[in-house]
C-alpha cells in the first residue's frame, strides 16, 4: 500500500518535472556564462545580444549571460558558485587570475578539447596575438581563450594642447616630454590647480596595472613570467617608475595627490579638468562617445623602451564542468572568439579583438579607417607583455597598491614603499614558494 502510494507520488513528481522543464523536453544543454562588464550598462545589453544570436544559431544549447560585476567580483562569484557545487560552464575571467585559479585547481586545461578539434595547442593559440599567450598558456597547457584585451593608452585633449600653444599633432612620446607638456597644460589659480596636466588611476586593480605599465616603460619587469612565486617590486626599474609617478604629484605638481579611481580620472578628462590621462584602451568607446572636444591617443610614453602589459579577460572553463556542458561551453567559447564576433565586440567596447583575423574583416578595416585611435591602440600590442599573475594575485597586487597609495599621498618615499611591498608580497607567496622552488630533495 505504502509502496504504491510512494510510487504514485514519485510518478507525479516526475511528470511535474517534465511539464516544468522545457529544457529537458527539448534536449537542450543549459549553460551559464559569467561575465564582468568593463564600462557601462550598454555592454550588458551588447552581451545579451551576442548570446541571443548564439542561442539562435545553436538550438541545442541555451546559454545565459550572468553579469557578475567587476573583474575581482567575477572571480569571487565564480568561486562562490563552485563552492556551492554549481560552477558556471564558462567565465570571462580577468587574464591575470588564470594562474591563481590553475594553482588552486579551479579551472581546467582545454588541451583535450583542442585536440578533439584536430588542432595542436600552438595551432590553436596561433590565431591570437602573441602578447596574449603568456596569460592564457600556463605550463604549456591552454587554460584560457583570450576574449577581449587592452593595454594602457595615453589620451590627450588636443584643444588643451592648442590653448597652451603646443602642436596638437605631437603627443608626448617619452617621460621627459610628458613632464614638460603636463607642466604647460596644468592651469593654476594662485596655489589652486584648476586643470591637471596628467592623471592616472590608482584605485585597487587599476593602480597596479598602470604601475606595471610605467615599470615596463622603464625597462623593468613586474614578475617572473615563468614562475608564480616571484615579484620584482624592490628593483631599480620599479623604483624609477614609482618615483616618476610620485614626482608628477609632489615635484612637478601636474598630477593630483592621493588615490584617483578610474571613474574619477575619466570624469575629469571628459569634463576638461584633466588634459592627459593614462587609461585602458577598453575605455576608448566610452571616451569617443562622450568627449565633446577633439582628443588623440598615443602609446604610453617611455623612459627606456616602449613596453606595456596587456589587460582584459579570457574565457575559462571551471573544474567540474563535464560532458555535454563542457562541450557546449567549448562551442560557445569558439564562437565568441571567432574573428567576426571578436571584431563586433571590439567595435562595441574599444577592447582589442584578440583574434588577429578579426582585423582582416571588411567591417574592422572600415572601422579603423574611421577611428584611427582604435588603430593606434592595436599597434601598441606589438610592444605588449603578459599581465602580472602570481600565486594569490589579488593580495600580492594589493601589497604594492597600498604602498602606491601611501607614496601618492606623500606618506612614504618610493624606496620605503617598495621595500615594504616586497616584504609583504614575499610573505603572501611564501607557502607557495616553500612548496615549489624551495622544496628540495632532502637526501
Amino acid at each position: 500500500m505504502t509502496t504504491t502510494r510512494r510510487t504514485l507520488l514519485a510518478g507525479a513528481a516526475l511528470a511535474a518535472s517534465f511539464a516544468l522543464s522545457p529544457a529537458f523536453a527539448q534536449g537542450q544543454t543549459e549553460i551559464e556564462l559569467f561575465f564582468p562588464v568593463p564600462v557601462d550598462g550598454q555592454l550588458a545589453r551588447d552581451m545579451a545580444t551576442l548570446l541571443k544570436e548564439f542561442n539562435e544559431k545553436n538550438p541545442s544549447i541555451k546559454a545565459t549571460p550572468v553579469y557578475t560585476g567587476s573583474y575581482d567580483e567575477t572571480l569571487i562569484k565564480t568561486r562562490a558558485a563552485m563552492k556551492a557545487g554549481k560552477p558556471p560552464a564558462a567565465v570571462i575571467m580577468s587574464a591575470n587570475f588564470l594562474l591563481d585559479l590553475k594553482i588552486e585547481g579551479e579551472i581546467q586545461p582545454m588541451d583535450a578539447l583542442i585536440k578533439a578539434d584536430g588542432k595542436t595547442n600552438d595551432q590553436f593559440m596561433g590565431q591570437f596575438f602573441d602578447a596574449l599567450h603568456g596569460n592564457a598558456v600556463l605550463d604549456r597547457q591552454v587554460y584560457g581563450v583570450p576574449f577581449h584585451n587592452s593595454t594602457p593608452l595615453l589620451y590627450v585633449n588636443t584643444d588643451h594642447l592648442k590653448e597652451a600653444g603646443l602642436d596638437p599633432d605631437k603627443l608626448p612620446a617619452n617621460w621627459e616630454e610628458l613632464v614638460t607638456t603636463a607642466k604647460k597644460l596644468t592651469r593654476r589659480d594662485g596655489d589652486r590647480v584648476t586643470r591637471w596636466g596628467m592623471m592616472m588611476p590608482s584605485n585597487y586593480d587599476y593602480g597596479g596595472w598602470i604601475l606595471q605599465a610605467l615599470t615596463h616603460s622603464n625597462g623593468g619587469q613586474w614578475f617572473n613570467v615563468d614562475y608564480g612565486g616571484e615579484v620584482y617590486y624592490d628593483t631599480p626599474s620599479m623604483l624609477g617608475a614609482l618615483t616618476f609617478w610620485s614626482d608628477l604629484v609632489s615635484k612637478h605638481k601636474v598630477h593630483p595627490a592621493g588615490v584617483q579611481a578610474g571613474g574619477a580620472v575619466s570624469s575629469a578628462f571628459l569634463s576638461g579638468q584633466a588634459s592627459m590621462m593614462l587609461l585602458s584602451t577598453g575605455s576608448l568607446t566610452h571616451i569617443r562617445t562622450n568627449a565633446k572636444f577633439p582628443y588623440k591617443v598615443a602609446f604610453v610614453p617611455k623612459n627606456v623602451k616602449n613596453e606595456v602589459p596587456i589587460g582584459g579577460a579570457s574565457l575559462v572553463i571551471p573544474t567540474g564542468v563535464e560532458g555535454e556542458r563542457r562541450k557546449a561551453a567549448w562551442t560557445l567559447i569558439n564562437w565568441m572568439t571567432s574573428p567576426e564576433k571578436s571584431g563586433w565586440w571590439s567595435r562595441a567596447t574599444g577592447y582589442f579583438a584578440p583574434n588577429k583575423a578579426a582585423y582582416d574583416t571588411a567591417e574592422m578595416k572600415a572601422f579603423i579607417e574611421k577611428n584611427p585611435d582604435a588603430g593606434i591602440a592595436v599597434s601598441q600590442l606589438a610592444f605588449a607583455k603578459p599581465w602580472f599573475a602570481t600565486y594569490r594575485t589579488v593580495p600580492v597586487r594589493k601589497a604594492i597598491e597600498d604602498e602606491l597609495a601611501a607614496v601618492l599621498s606623500a606618506k612614504k618615499t618610493p624606496k620605503e614603499a617598495l621595500v615594504a611591498a616586497q616584504k609583504q608580497a614575499d610573505e603572501i607567496m611564501r607557502p607557495y614558494v616553500e612548496q615549489t622552488a624551495l622544496k628540495l630533495p632532502t637526501n
Partner: protein, 282 residues
Amino acid sequence: MSQASTGVATGEVSPKLGYAATLLVAALWMVPFLWMLVAAFNPESIGAGMASLVPSYIPTLANFREAWASADFPRYGLNTTIISLGILAVQVVTITLAGYAFARLEFPGRTLCFYLFLLQLMLAPVVLIVPNLTTIARLGLYDTLLGVMAPYFVSAFGTFLMRQAFRAIPRELEDAALIDGAGVFQRIGFIYLPLARPSLVAFSIVSVTAHWNEFLWPLMVINSPDLRPLTVGLASFTRGAEGAQAWGVIAAGTLLVSAPLLLAFALFQRAFVNSFVSSGIK
C-alpha cells in the same frame, strides 16, 4: 513640554539659535537628495555641469530611460518585494508563536532561551556571512530567493516586541476564550494578534525597510540576473572594471531604487515614524 524649546533664554546659547542651527543643518542634510533629483533629470550625464544644484536645463527622462534599459528594474523590484514580504510572512508566524511562549508560558529554561534569542541581536547574519553561505549552499539554496530569505526567518527583536505587546493584553480575555474551549492557535489568532496589531505593523515596517535595503548578503547569495534584488542591480551602475561613470544615469537609478520606500513614507509618515521609534534594533 513646549517649555523646553520656548523657555526664556537666559543661558549662553539661545534656544532660538539652536533652532536656527537645526534648520541650517536640515538644509545641508537635503543636499544629497537635491543633487540626486537635479542630476537625474539632467539631459547631460557626464561632464562638468553635473555638480550644479540649480537645474539649468529642460528636464528630460533620458537618464531614467537609460537606467531602465540597462537593468531590469521591474524584475529587481519584484525580487526585492518577494524577499521583503516573504521574510516578513515567515517572521510573523515565528515571532508570534515565540512571543506568545515568552509572554504567557512558564517553562524550564526560559531565561536561557531568552539569552539564546538575545544572542541573535548581535550575531546578525551579515557578520556570519561566510559560514552562512556554506550552510545555504549545503541546503541547496544557493542562488535562490529562499536562500536570501532563510537566515532572517527568525527575529529576536520581533519576538521581544511581540512578547511585550502580548503581555500588555489582559489575561482575562484569554481565560474567557479558554472556557469557550478555544485552542491555543485560536486564542493567539483571534485574541492576541488583533490586539497586538500596532506592534505587528511597527515590526512589519521596520523589517521590510531593513530587507528592502539590504545589499551584501543578497550580493553573495544571488548569481542569476533574474533573481537580483534592487540594491544589487543598482550596484552594477556604480562599479565598472575599467570604465567611467555616467552620473546622471546613476542618479536616476538610485532614485528608482529608493523611490518605493520614500513614496511609502510620504503616504504613511506617522506609521513609519512610530514603527522606527518602537523598533530599536532592525
